[in-house]
Amino acid sequence: MGLVQIDNLTEGMLLAADTHDRNGRLLLTQGAELTNRHIRMFMTWGIQKVDIQDYDEPLSETSDGDVIAPELLQKAEEELKLLFRKNDLTYPAIIELFQQCLTRKARNENR
């Protein structure tokens, strides 16, 4: 598995993961065998790199689950609750914004 530059793609390569465009539109599903039409299609949508099965270069970014200490998370939550004190914390959009800010804040402070 490895990310391959669009210029280095050849027919017959197998896709290791679903490929989306920058707005999240699904272009091709995992396991598809690439044809020249696919490669041209990727270029059409501005895809730069594609995840290919059995490709030598290892994926560089594999660390998506960094562990956050609970006390950091708690501290971040307290601060955010203060920041959000004028908002309705039961409203769906606010709940989501709060959650996203919480993980973001805790992760930033972890680093």
């Binding site: 465009d21 039409r37 041209r40 270029m43 059409t44 501005g46």
Partner: protein, 463 residues
């Protein structure tokens, strides 16, 4: 600054130039407004059209009025996320368009244009031309790309025209989208219609088969009953004649055996007649022959016919007729006679030796005074306005268990008690009674307090 003639003339020059410029802007803006105003017709066109190609042609017309495109093309987004040439103007420019698009895809400007929602101006392959790319997209869906080629290498169009271009192509996007949705709906409708047609055909076939089968059954039954009755009548007739000894004496054993032949063949004939009646009712072919009949005489005649059996079994029959029983009632006399005979002969048969059978008949009864199950048995035929007559036949027999009270009216069911086996009937008697009464908008049911307490069969008929 002094107002020297030089200054004044240069200022005049500037003002004249400014005036010219404003007039030009004004003219251009009027033109854009005209094009956009005429897009009302264009939209109506788009709404009525169901072919993408006519949407493209209408858009080409519109764009030509707006900008000096000399070549235009639409690329449509296909199911596999590629973009294929769909329509171009003039029609022979497809090769040039394909070359331009290939180049724009490889240099990334095609992808860039897809992500923007405004026209993108890029150099064409030929030096003296420029290419305009604008995505055709609604808020939710990218449906294609517009490509236009204009003369001039460095040309870029003014902001109002760019915005007008965006607006027109947004209309096109919605027209394409509505077209796509329309086609989807049409497909669904067609699919649905096809399914309905298929299903209807299946049902028609099934009905035809069922009708044919039913007709064959009726024909078969009519034929069979005729075929069976002819020899059976011979058996009954000749055994009767032999029993009467008109053709000479027969010994006692011969008489006994001939008696069995006669009884059994009579029974068989009854069974055939019952089956025929039932099948006529099932085929809705039973017709009522209504006449003004006298209920009292029907009852009395039935009792006369049973007198001998009752006498042999030492069963006492009492008849109690209330004055309220109407003198005349409009019924199919044959059916009602058969019902009464069936019920009375059952009562006599099921009563033990030295038992009692009582018959009670009354009229002028309203539905309100009848038990609840009577009304539910009548169903739709129930008429609260009408007066009903009621005949109740009570025997002192072994009675009927509660779970059998309804079951005995089903074809070929009898109260499952070994004691009844010795009086085998056709098994269709009570079923026919219920059907005959239903044809008269009447009803019949049985009542019993259980084993050993006797039973009452109660029937009602509208007066």
């Amino acid at each position: 600054m002094k107002n020297t003639p030089d200054n004044i003339s240069s200022e005049l020059e500037t003002l004249r130039d400014r005036n010219l410029f404003l007039e030009e802007c004004n003219q251009r803006n009027i033109n854009i407004l005209d094009v956009l105003a005429s897009s009302r017709d264009f939209q109506e066109d788009l709404n009525s059209e169901r072919e993408n190609s006519s949407i493209f042609k209408a858009t080409f017309q519109q764009l030509k009025r707006l900008l000096p495109f000399h070549k235009m093309a639409f690329y449509l987004n296909t199911d596999d996320n590629s973009f294929d040439l769909s329509e171009c103007l003039p029609t022979d420019c497809s090769e040039e368009m394909e070359r331009e698009v290939d180049q724009k895809i490889s240099d990334g400007s095609f992808a860039w244009a897809l992500s923007q929602n405004h026209p993108l101006f890029v150099p064409a392959i030929k030096d003296d031309q420029s290419v305009v790319l604008q995505v055709i997209a609604t808020k939710s869906r990218i449906s294609g790309m517009f490509i236009g080629i204009m003369p001039g290498s460095n040309s870029i169009i003014d902001a109002p025209s760019q915005n007008a271009l965006t607006i027109i192509l947004l209309n096109t996007a919605y027209a394409l989208e509505s077209n796509r949705l329309n086609n989807t709906i049409k497909d669904h409708v067609q699919n649905l219609e096809q399914k309905v047609t298929e299903r209807t055909r299946e049902l028609q076939n099934a009905r035809k088969i069922a009708e044919t089968a039913n007709r064959s059954k009726s024909v078969f039954l009519a034929n069979m009953s005729h075929e069976l009755r002819t020899p059976l009548n011979a058996v009954i007739g000749f055994s009767d004649v032999l029993l009467s000894q008109s053709f000479g004496p027969i010994n006692e054993r011969q008489q006994e055996y001939l008696g069995y032949v006669f009884q059994s063949s009579r029974h068989l004939l009854d069974l055939i007649n019952d089956i025929l009646d039932l099948s006529k009712i099932e085929a809705n072919k039973m017709e009522l022959r209504l006449i003004d009949a006298n209920m009292e005489s029907i009852l009395k005649n039935s009792l006369i016919m049973l007198k001998e059996i009752a006498h042999n079994r030492k069963v006492q029959i009492t008849l109690n007729i209330e004055p309220s029983l109407p003198a005349k009632i409009r019924v199919d006399e044959r059916m009602i006679k058969q019902v009464m005979f069936n019920l009375l002969s059952n009562a006599v048969k099921f009563s033990p030796s030295s038992g009692n059978v009582s018959v009670h008949a009354a009229g002028e009864i309203k539905l309100d005074n009848l038990p609840h199950n009577a009304v539910s048995l009548l169903g739709e035929a129930a008429n609260p306005e009408s007066n009903y007559l009621e005949i109740a036949i009570t025997d002192s027999g072994i009675g009927i268990s509660p779970e059998d009270l309804e079951r005995i009216f089903k074809p070929f069911e009898q109260s499952d008690n070994s004691a009844t086996r010795e009086f085998e009937g056709t098994g269709l008697g009570l079923t026919l009674c219920r059907e005959f009464l239903a044809l008269h908008k009447g009803a019949i049911w049985a009542e019993s307090n259980g084993h050993g307490t006797g039973s009452t069969f109660r029937l009602i008929l509208p007066q």
